[in-house]
Subunit: 560 residues, 2 copies
């Protein structure tokens, strides 16, 4: 990257004190601030509070890791990649992290013990995925400190009262009457975004179709999930539930259980815990505190009750209203709404940090170029908006489909597979670009990832995958409307998966294969399928991964 | 300790839901909460906020270590002792800690480079003192989690609107209208203590004689102190300034520099930074922000300016008014004001955690006994009040003397030695009791430490030390009044130290011996002096330490 400094004091922008003002010094604002400052942009990072800050959103997926690593390499900020590795977090941040070897899901019914066969688990090879449960107060402070280290100027405890966006600069005024000006404004705050408010950008009502609310906290004394299920050894998954992110599913809702204390290296006794449910089906009660309502949910499910029998919260409980919000637009001349200022869906599928990193990836080079050219038109940033809206809409559709499916194991299993496979191949696609960028020492492979036909979908350039994704949405909608039975919908979707030439004919489309674990044998079979049977596009995506595994083995790292 | 539970549901206290309510879940409330819960007391731990919380007060002294270890062993809460050891903090909490191998002080004058000879440093043997700069947000959350783990019930985000103390119970009412009752109330909040407010306990005006205010934050990019002094190797202390807590002294004020990044194991890039000054001499300006005023102080001293040349704050700056406050009384029937709710002096000499632990030590067994007897008279807790008031008054006198001395190196050097020696011997006194308690498996040696003639002084049972302490106060008062010259006062005090039979005749009373470092040779000389020349009381205090050193060497630990 060229330094953005070169043209920064042009006649046009000369009046502004800063190149960029970022509102919000959380993980998004800090990550972007670090990148901009690293490339010489004079960046002011404003926050109403300061670190340490409590935050949830601790769970990572392989796609998140690769997005973080891409951003880190592309913009030469090694500290960002730290977040993608459990080992690096423990070494470079501190010993507060859980490790994550799986995504686990099990279905519950009120008053019932969960059936062992109504479970799914998704493991990924350790070489790509030795990832963690992020202790967000520490990762977020880490990135903030990195931003400051690279030269971003922090302005903390600062309450923004007004935002002005003129033709030639932006101005932020504080409740203390002071004013700060810049050439560009990024709003990385959240739901209460000053820019969204100024321009009336919050959709009312929101176009989003998914509905949920959440109650959450951090707890101590949470038992490992494995200890609370009455299943025999043969009925259990190959990797302990406790070694990953546990989801207890129920009709139109789910619990998350994200332990930080699930490995011998961690000194953190806490566990992130929350329950999320459709607020139309389960309206927020008037006569209970957040904590009382949480326990009333726990009491419904015997195994969950055992898991929390000795647990106590170490924070006040947060009970939200509907979580979903969106914006009609997320970029304009001299401004951008980033990530959670633009919209939010649901913590399911752990999209928070992944979306943030993806948006930062698309925004950063555009913004650095705009600073060099001193030109900040809406058009330059139009793709960022398309990306943000696409991420929001596809995630909305996926989470809605999942919620509808939760009460029927086979239907959930189909949704789970469509999600998991897209996530694997999407991650391979990013890995391929990263490898190519490294080999060619060029930014071209990253640029080539942009603007695919289905922007915002994990695997965004494959029409057949998109068609099956849409079929999943259509089928779950029909189940919701009562026009198709869940059995029928599940059958339809599994038939599609079995017939697909872009998915290996084993493991993924096999409803009996509940625990998706890429062992050496399965991986070898998958690579062989990719090499000799898969269509060209898919072949490339898998063989790139095969090369990476080979490379890791060559340097003595364990791939699993 | 017997379990407090035995009698807890007597007829008298039967109406109360809890045994003890603690207001404030900071380090003090959490430490006490852990102890009470550990011994079966039903404890409610109330806080208006939640962790993580920013806090300053990161510096430890040998006396603090021993007080923490005493409390930890006496009340069987091993997690408290973690705070006393750098290694244990890094292992059991996380890698955010600085280490501390010295207390360093150097005198500055406006616009001048500091003279190498106007420096003092105090190292203590590693075996007693491998201590850390506590990253308070993590130590405090650690202790809070421990309290919850042992069964203290947390009530967070709870705003107390009213406190009622009746004959047979206490009641705390929240802004939400709810009420919580207990048999005893501990107010471990701080300046804005609800109990102090209810009973009008804040002294107005305060009896305290010391005056100061402070400006502080956490910074990144602070240079090691050693890199900013233009001194030759021969002029430097034996231990790097950067390896400890640095004090830049100036006329009626001082900076603290407490790095968390001064060791190869720490992943924390921050440094705690503050400046404290007599607010009568330097009134708080109306026309500057806290940050502007901080930099105006930095600009006065060239070496300090170099140290902060590339430093930036990662928090909003806090600028306080006068720091000193006190209470007319700190215990009553069914209530106690603890530690910082009772009063505060100044961060100089790092008394915060030490006082807190000492008060908890005196309060805990009394409170557990009172719970068993179901009797909570003022008389039972009277010693806790005397201790708290004594700690406050002696610290007030010491800090005031130090501030007066800062502008005259020899006078400061005398005050420094009186403080340092008292602190060493006081720590030996606690160590001796701890060893005896361990050997006899009895609480008697801890009880025997209580109620000495000079309660609140570090070395509280030695009349001659007290006489010299008083002389130091009287002499510095006279310097302040202009009736004695600083030269004269320094001479008077050094003459006393040289003549004292309770202080070794080398190192401590020698003004040329600027860096107090107990090497093997010096320690051997000190133990020999203690064995053959010192009065009986002093002999015992040192020879107990000699045994400890011997024991450490025997198990292969390095004493230095």
């Amino acid at each position: 990257m060229e330094q953005a400094k070169t043209k920064k004091r042009s006649s046009k922008g000369g009046a502004a004190e800063h190149d960029v003002i970022i509102l919000g010094a959380g993980i998004a604002g800090s990550m972007l601030g670090a990148i901009l400052a690293r490339h010489g942009a004079k960046t002011l990072l404003i926050d109403a509070g300061a670190h340490p800050k409590f935050a949830v959103g601790e769970s990572m997926v392989p796609y998140t890791l690769l997005t973080l690593r891409s951003v880190s390499r592309r913009y030469d900020v090694p500290e960002i990649a730290t977040l993608s590795s459990f080992d690096d977090c423990m070494k470079n941040i501190n010993s507060s992290f859980g490790w994550k070897k799986n995504f686990g899901f099990i279905r519950h019914e009120e008053g019932q013990e969960p059936n062992w066969w109504e479970a799914t688990q998704f493991n990924t090879p350790g070489v790509f995925n030795k990832t963690g449960h992020l202790y967000r107060q520490d990762t977020d402070a880490h990135l903030f400190n990195v931003a400051v280290k690279y030269g971003a100027e922090p302005l903390l405890g600062y309450l923004v009262s007004e935002v002005d966006i003129d033709d030639d600069r932006v101005a932020v005024r504080g409740s203390d009457g002071s004013e700060h000006t810049a050439r560009y404004l990024v709003d990385a705050s959240g739901f209460r975004s000053p820019v969204a408010e100024k321009f009336g950008l919050r959709e009312q009502p929101s176009r989003l179709r998914h509905h949920s609310r959440s109650i959450f906290s951090h707890m101590i004394g949470v038992k490992p999930s494995d200890d609370v299920f009455w299943h025999s050894d043969a009925q259990r998954p190959p990797v302990r539930w406790h070694d990953g992110t546990m989801h207890h599913l129920f009709d139109r809702g789910w619990f998350w259980v994200i332990p930080f204390n699930n490995n011998p290296h961690s000194s953190n006794p806490l566990c992130s815990v929350g329950v999320t449910m459709d607020e139309r089906v389960y309206p927020k009660p008037d006569d209970m505190t957040a904590e009382e309502e949480f326990w009333s949910w726990v009491d419904k499910f015997p195994a969950v009750r055992r898991q929390f029998a000795e647990a106590r919260s170490v924070r006040e409980w947060v009970s939200t209203g509907r979580l979903q919000y969106s914006a009609t637009s997320s970029v304009g001349p001299r401004w951008c709404l980033m990530s959670h200022a633009a919209g939010f869906i649901d913590p399911l599928f752990s999209r928070g940090i992944s979306n943030t990193a993806e948006v930062i990836n698309a925004l950063s080079w555009r913004l650095l170029a705009a600073l060099r050219d001193d030109e900040f038109t809406r058009e330059r940033f139009e793709y960022v908006e398309r990306l943000e809206q696409g991420l929001l809409d596809f995630n909305d559709a996926l989470v809605r489909a999942a919620f509808i499916s939760f009460d029927h194991y086979e239907l959930w299993s189909a949704v789970f597979r469509i999600w998991a496979y897209g996530s694997v191949v999407g991650a391979n696609r990013v890995q391929q670009a990263m490898t190519a960028a490294h080999r060619t020492r060029s930014d071209e492979p990253f640029l080539a990832l942009e603007d695919p036909p289905h922007v915002g979908l994990w695997w965004p350039d494959h029409d057949e995958y998109r068609r099956v994704f849409d079929l999943m949405v259509q089928q779950t909608d029909a189940v919701d409307a009562g026009t198709v039975s869940p059995d029928q919908a599940a059958e339809t979707l599994f038939a599609e998966l079995k017939a697909a030439d872009w998915m290996p004919p084993f493991m993924f489309p096999d409803v009996e294969h509940r625990f998706l674990r890429p062992t050496s044998k399965t991986l070898a079979r998958m690579f062989s399928w990719a090499a000799f049977q898969a269509p060209a596009q898919v072949r490339g995506l898998f063989l790139g991964q095969a090369q990476e595994v080979g490379r890791s083995l060559a340097v003595g790292r364990k791939p699993f």
